[in-house]
Symmetry: C2
Subunit: 159 residues, 2 copies
């Protein structure tokens, strides 16, 4: 197999925490997985967003560490866990579950996927901004990421 | 400052941020945070554990990607989220919550902390093993990480 094809396969397999593994997973496990990923995203982005908005003191090293970790986490492709049959809580599941996901996700899956990919791109830019070490660049890009979070939540998450 | 020292400092600061932030957080938020982190740990370690045990085919690139991401995630120090008052589900909380944490965590917090740090060390070794690219080294170390998972779950997680 060509090296590029191999890398592509590896990427597919890793995205495959998502696709492959999730195709076999129970719906409540997919719900739990996406919520866990998004919560870890929030735990890392939260402080960066607050630093960007001047709500907490700017700390270059902490910001950089959060940004690097966030970049790694979003490669888990949370969008792939919004599989069919997970638009409602799963009744009678062994795992307690709920979902704030709106039906629009399954009505326009390509649009939803694009919105999530936009978030991943902005997070990539945030990690690169953090590597410059320039406070203003970092804060501005934190604002951009925050906008993609809000945009997606407005459209696809119940209030 | 040396690059490694810088990374160490950044990690310490971020761990610091999580301690401080969590001291102010509601107990149900701490429970949700630690469960999300541990779920993301499981989503990444799961396939590596299965590759190590020969349950799914070995894929060097996928393994390496999981290991790198896992190394980043465990620096979130999930042990810091087992704060006082989170040994029981929080009644009446807005966020649905439950916990499988056993009272031993709060009875012997230093022992629990050591066990979690051992896990972090073994995950660090796993990432280094993945960077060698040697299949046997990677599989053996996946086994070692699996043992620390199981050890902690046996002692500190309800069945």
């Amino acid at each position: 197999m060509h090296r590029l094809a191999k890398i592509g396969l590896a990427a597919a397999l890793v995205a495959g925490v998502s696709s492959v593994a999730m195709a076999q997973a129970k719906p409540e496990e997919a719900i739990r997985a996406r919520q866990a990923i998004m919560r870890v995203v929030a735990l890392n982005f939260g402080p960066m967003g607050k630093m960007g908005a001047g709500e907490i003191p700017f700390n270059r090293d902490a910001f950089a560490a959060y940004a690097t970790r966030l970049e790694a986490v979003v490669t888990m492709n949370p969008q792939n866990f919004f599989v069919p049959g997970t638009d409602q809580p799963v009744a009678g599941a062994k795992i307690a579950n709920f979902t704030d996901a709106r039906p629009e996700i399954w009505q326009s899956p390509e649009k939803f996927k694009s919105a999530m990919e936009k978030m991943q791109q902005e997070v990539g830019k945030l990690a690169r901004a953090a590597r410059t070490g320039d406070e203003k660049t970092m804060k501005v890009q934190a604002g951009e990421v925050g906008k993609t979070c809000k945009g997606c939540h407005d459209d696809y998450r119940s209030k």
